[in-house]
Symmetry: none
DNA sequence: AATGAATGAGAGTTCATTCAT
DNA sequence: AATGAATGAACTCTCATTCAT
């Protein structure tokens, strides 16, 4: 009943919420937002439907919970140490892997993106991940150019935009084919065009 | 009741079906598949809900009708005459315009794409548009190289893949922000990297 | 399919609505608004719950339907021909009988009255019956005085108010005792005090 | 933990119970029994919902608690000293004031009365207040007649019945119009008809 | 004495679909 | 070809109540 138990209580609460958002995540990956049923989510998490509503008062709030946790997983592929060229290489490699191994993550983010126009809260959360991604990518490109690892003619902002939409677009080919599609083709061509060189080479 | 009337009957039937798929298209663009209600569609088309079911026995069949007509509109931006370089230029320009002016078309195609894993018929229809698109794009790139308008080092298949996923990916950035975004950045960079030259120039 | 069927259709619709409001009426009489369940009403009327919502989109609208039809039954006890004294006698006699034989009607009107503060539509409907009742009663008293059948000192408005609240108040004694209570006592005393004489007697 | 603490414990328990019945009273006045939610009551009283159930095991018992305390407030307007005429005057004056200033009390009593048929315990409590009220009123009338303050022709029982139903009936006119209505009209006419004279005057 | 967490049982409402006409 | 009426099955959400602590 002391401090420890309070923490345990908080932990428990967090675990339940996470269990529910994870269950919802899996259901969305499987059946889309269209097929998302709170009862299924509750059942998957092993709790009563009323318990789900105890943690997430509405279906909408549950979906927002999914957005937050999905974006969290996505953000883990963001680089943050090493030279710009190294970070770029690491980031692209992480994304390539993520797209092939965690297709669900992108399917769900796709569903949620399409929901954004109807839920300003989701739109905001998405924007709060997307804008920093663009900025980071452009900044890395800029620094890589400064480091002499990229063609100085390259426009960092436009290139960042192209890279990001390309990565996002892969999801469409993937869902239609029920498996990762054109991931390598896309990344290979992207890297070829970038022509990322080791530092200081001419 | 003769031949003419039969034709008129067929025409009428086609018109009704089109009115219904168009109404459904608008509803999907507005509320997503998640928010698609057959009653709304029937009301928008000015017919009774039972009449809708006369033309489309199930909601699923209505959605498939939307896929077919949406892809029809999309295919109109496919080029088919002129030199490879000209066709490429025209196609990219048509897509750039379509993405900026008919955002709805891509939103709906996005929704439908994400439904593909759950509806093999949609998956097939999508594939039947997507695969030819890839082939056509790669073929145009190949011919443009042969015509000396593109860098001979370019890998036509990978480049086609990148171009197509980039175009598709624009939709995610667009819907989340409720306005065409990064369209020009993406296309500019794509064209810059392609470096499409007039025929026979060195 | 002609005019007759159209009428039949309207009739049918009216009948269904009436069957539903009557079922709701009985349920309210039995269990109060507190215990009113749309499913029970539908079952009592022998239709599916969805059919109830086809006729009354919300529970609230069903309740309003009950108000309207209950007040209709009540208004039938309003007099409209004969001398003022005759009308008064007939009205009081009709009410006395109604209170003893159709206790439910007053129980339900009691429930609905208490709901009025929370539903302006009900409040308005109630007011539209109550105000005319007061006016009519005061007018009859006024005319009976002019006809020499009532004490000229009588204040018609105050007396009308007293008579009406007394009639309404009987319901509380009735529900608590599960049977008509103090009806005769109240009416006897009311009539004694009124001292309604045949026309022109001193 | 001795005698004092036990008393304190009892006091505390009573206070909690009272806080809860008062909160429930306010909620019933506001939203009716129909809209009474135990969670709201607990929140208003500043305790957890489980705590409410510690003091009142069921919702029904909470409602009974409200009946008891509401009737307590009502009984305070009962007279008990002075001549019969004085008591009658004081009682009528106290009720007139109560009806105008504490409308809530009558609204709640109205709600609870209508519940009586479904809860024999409430019916009994109501009866235990109502019957003595009738007896007391008739007795006062009888004594006032004996004291020469009322018309000897007056039937004490019937008059008591009329007075009480009139007072109760005011509530229906009041709630539907959301303001004290016809209170003065009713009381004025009642007092006029009673013609309550000072003792021994002819 | 008090609470956060959990729940069974249902509430009103919705929706794709069907059927008689 | 078209419709008003009807429905089964579900949906999200609610609520009084319970229980471990």
């Amino acid at each position: 009943m002391g401090h420890d138990n309070a923490l345990t209580g908080e932990d428990h609460k967090m675990q339940r919420r996470q269990a529910l958002t994870e269950a919802a995540f899996r259901r969305i990956a499987e059946s889309g937002l269209e097929g998302l049923r709170t009862r299924d989510v509750a059942a998957d998490a092993g709790v009563n439907i009323a318990t789900l509503h105890y943690y997430f008062p509405t279906k909408e709030s549950l979906i927002r919970g999914v957005v937050a946790s999905a974006l969290l997983r996505f953000r883990e592929s963001m680089p943050n140490e090493g030279s710009a060229a190294e970070q770029l290489r690491w980031h692209l490699s992480a994304l390539r892997q993520l797209l092939k191994e965690e297709t669900d993550l992108f399917v769900v983010l796709g569903e949620l993106s399409l929901r954004a126009p109807r839920d300003p809260v989701i739109a905001q959360i998405m924007k709060d991940t997307d804008d920093p991604w663009h900025r980071k990518m452009a900044e890395l490109l800029r620094r890589a150019i400064a480091e002499g690892c990229l063609d100085p003619e390259l426009n960092p902002d436009d290139t960042a935009a192209l890279m990001i939409v390309a990565i996002k677009g892969i999801i469409f080919s993937t869902v239609a084919a029920l498996r990762p599609m054109r991931v390598d083709q896309t990344f290979d061509q992207l890297e070829r065009w970038l022509g990322l060189r080791p530092r200081h080479e001419p």
